[in-house]
């Protein structure tokens, strides 16, 4: 068990190194291959009226003039041991793990991300509860009423759910419920300003539902397929032969098996979302990690982009580790082998 964990952690570190190296390469190598000079890169981070000398000075200050592996090494060293950054006005120490300073705002990246994490966390967690409950329930009902009008109706809605992008459903929801009916905030209502749990729900309900709708649709289809399969298993017949009431047959024997693969996907989806629900956060102007990432990309702000990517990767890795460990809890056959 312990060796397994250590092996997984080493693999995770390797994966993070690869991810960050790739982001680094995309950011620096691709423009250079396209013919941009170091000064061209630096010119994005100085004022419009800056002269050639100022641009070059910025390039030197940001370290662009060093070879790329030196720059990457500096980035890795910052994470492991912390780093000192010349902000132009003086030297700032950034303790480990240091994800660097924004080229634009001169702020250290990690505190920025941690500031925005709770918003994304609340958004993802609330939506996850909704889509898990809603999607699974819909899938079970559809499977049990297979071929009925209800089944076809629900699966039709689910198909719409997976097909419609969030910036469509989200804007539609905003236009109806907030601009039309004026039931909720018109976006930008940070969950961090909520005065009570009820207020929190009031602020977040629309983003939650919008995000959950997309996932619930996918989960409903997955659950339906899983239930149709497990309800044909021999052990379901055994459960009925024991005289178990049908409700227990469905929930305790059928759903119990059908949920196992869904758990895997749920963990990965949640991990991925914690790295930023980009479309939802943008549509509802929520200052979460996704929103932050979009801004960073628009501004060519490498340290921010790198930071968000790494944090997102960490979440996905942790989630998949938890899922793998949970799998052994859920399926006893995994435990012994």
């Amino acid at each position: 068990m312990l060796t397994y964990l250590i092996r997984r952690l080493l693999a995770a570190v390797l994966l993070l190194a690869i991810v960050s190296a790739v982001v680094f390469a995309i950011f620096f190598l691709v423009p250079r291959i396209g013919g941009a000079t170091v000064d061209d890169l630096a010119s994005r981070y100085v004022g419009k009226s800056a002269g050639q000398a100022q641009i070059h000075e910025t390039a030197v200050r940001l370290g662009f003039t060093d070879p790329i592996w030196v720059q990457y090494g500096r980035f890795v060293k910052g994470i492991v041991a912390g780093a000192d950054y010349n902000t132009g006005a003086g030297i700032d120490h950034c303790p480990a793990p240091c994800l660097g300073y924004s080229y634009i705002t001169q702020n250290p990246v990690l505190p920025d991300i941690l500031d925005r994490l709770p918003v994304t966390l609340i958004l993802a967690a609330g939506a996850a509860v909704l889509w898990l409950v809603g999607g699974v329930a819909t899938g079970v009902i559809s499977a049990l009423r297979r071929g009925s009008v209800l089944d076809r109706g629900l699966m039709g809605v689910a198909l719409a759910g997976v097909s419609l992008p969030i910036f469509f459903t989200g804007l539609l929801a905003l236009s109806i419920f907030s601009y039309g009916l004026k039931w909720t905030y018109a976006g930008g209502a940070s969950p961090m300003d909520a005065t009570s749990p009820l207020d929190l729900v009031h602020r977040m309900l629309l983003p939650w539902i919008t995000l959950a709708f997309l996932y619930a649709a996918a989960y409903a289809r997955l659950t339906r397929a899983g239930m149709l399969e497990t309800m044909n298993e021999d052990y379901i017949r055994t459960a009925r032969a024991k005289g178990l009431p049908e409700r227990d047959v469905v929930v305790r024997h059928g759903l119990r098996s059908a949920l196992t693969p869904i758990l895997t996907i749920f963990g990965l989806d949640l991990g991925l979302l914690l790295g930023g629900a980009v479309l939802t956060e943008t549509t509802f102007s929520l200052q979460g990690i996704g929103y932050y990432a979009v801004q960073a990309i628009n501004n060519n702000d490498l340290p921010k982009v790198l930071g968000v990517t790494l944090v997102a990767a960490v979440f996905v890795i942790i989630a998949s580790l938890i899922v793998d460990l949970l799998y052994a809890v859920v399926d006893p056959r995994v435990r012994t082998s």
Binding site: E233, D234, Y235, R237, T238, A239, R240, A241, K242, G243, L244, P245, E246, H253, R256, S257, T260, V330, D331, P332, R333, T336
Partner: protein, 392 residues
């Protein structure tokens, strides 16, 4: 082909066959008169008619189980009757698709509602099960009638311990605490011969060997002392060495619980071990029924001969190849006209075309021995003595 789905052909051909799905146990048939003199025999009535025998704990009369599909009606069971007394074992033998398992699922009420048309009568201790409320049948399942399935690995839930599954079966029908139910589960596991039951009760099915799993399955089925036990191919998925142990176990437990047992199998060797009576099924009907001894010493149906001939014998000198029954079981949508076995029967041409056009009546040939064949008893005796028996 037109005859196959054509009810009138069937009725015209077979005086004993009921005309449709509206039968009841009390419906009298023309053949009934012939059998009146045998009323002392508790097996009277298995020809498809008559009231349940006096000892009958389970009484099936003219059971028809039809599945409507897009291709036509699948007549999986089509007019089946038999009785079974407490403490007795009935072996139901036949190829895949002869309707054995559908029969057992029908008795247990395990067919998915809406997919099946079930008519006739199934009486468990005078309780009518056909047409009963699903909830009423459910309350009987596991308590008064229980079932053992073929493949114990797939028939047990992989995510629950063996003990949990036995406890669950016991607690459905008995209002007891989990601790009491667990003691009962351990007790049951011990009785079916699982060593160290108090520790193995917490094992998962995949941690058991095949034979142990089947024992656990039997423990689960017997946890509420059912009066009727249906074993559907209980040894098919097991090693040969384990098969005999499981059969012994079923026999021992049967004498201990005095339950009625239906043993479903395609293996005549298995029924020879255990059964008091044997029913041979073909195309959803009974083609031969009698005591086990009779079936092995004086089989009356060419299909039974075929089953006997295709049974490997290790205790004889190997003189020639096994003789499998030619052809494949018929489609249950387009059942052949006349005798459903005639396309595969080597003797069908000896009946002056009767086999092709007229369904043979399920008639008594010897006391307590019924079969559905157009060949005369003398002819069958001759064929059996000269063609079949010497080659077995």
């Amino acid at each position: 082909m037109s005859q196959s789905t054509n009810e009138p052909t069937e009725t015209g051909a077979d005086a004993t066959a009921p005309t449709g799905g509206t039968t009841t146990a009390t419906e009298k048939r023309p053949r009934r008169g012939d059998k009146g003199k045998l009323s002392a025999n508790t097996l009277d009535g298995i020809g498809g008619m008559g009231a349940p025998g006096p000892d009958a704990f389970l009484s099936v009369r003219d059971l028809r189980v039809h599945f409507p599909t897009d291709d036509g009606v699948v007549k999986s069971v089509d007019g089946l009757s038999f009785d079974l007394a407490r403490g007795k074992t009935l072996g139901i033998v036949g190829e895949s698709g002869s309707g054995k398992s559908v029969t057992s699922m029908s008795i247990m009420g395990l067919h998915k509602p809406g997919t099946v048309r079930m008519t006739g009568s199934v009486k468990l201790d005078d309780t009518e099960l056909v047409g009963a409320k699903p909830e009423q049948v459910r309350a009987l399942r596991g308590k008064r009638m229980a079932m053992i399935f073929q493949d114990p690995l797939s028939a047990m839930h992989p995510f629950y311990t063996v003990g949990h599954q036995i406890i669950e079966a016991y607690k459905i029908h008995n209002k007891v605490s989990t601790a009491v139910a667990k003691r009962h589960a351990i007790d049951m596991l011990g009785r079916v011969g699982i060593p160290e039951p108090s520790s193995r009760v917490d094992d998962y099915p995949h941690q058991f060997s095949g034979g142990m799993r089947q024992r656990a399955m039997i423990a689960m089925a017997l946890s509420c002392d059912p009066e009727l036990l249906i074993a559907d191919e209980p040894t098919t998925a097991l090693d040969v060495t384990v098969q005999a142990q499981i059969l012994d176990l079923i026999r021992d437990l049967q004498s201990e619980f005095n339950s009625a047992v239906i043993l479903i199998t395609h293996d005549l060797g298995v029924v020879a071990e255990l059964s008091d009576d044997i029913m041979v099924m073909y195309a959803g009907r009974s083609v031969e029924y009698s005591s086990a001894d009779e079936v092995f010493t004086r089989p009356q149906h060419p299909y039974t001969w075929g089953l006997l001939s295709s049974m490997p014998r290790l205790d004889r000198v190997r003189t020639e190849r096994l003789r499998p029954i030619a052809g494949a079981p018929p489609s249950l949508i387009n059942v052949p006209s006349g005798c459903p076995f005639h396309p595969r029967c080597a003797y069908a041409d000896r009946t002056d075309g009767l086999s092709q056009t007229v369904r043979p009546p399920f008639a008594q040939t010897h006391p307590g021995h019924y079969s559905a064949c157009h060949l005369s008893p003398e002819e069958k005796q001759a064929i059996w003595e000269t063609d079949i028996r010497p080659t077995l």
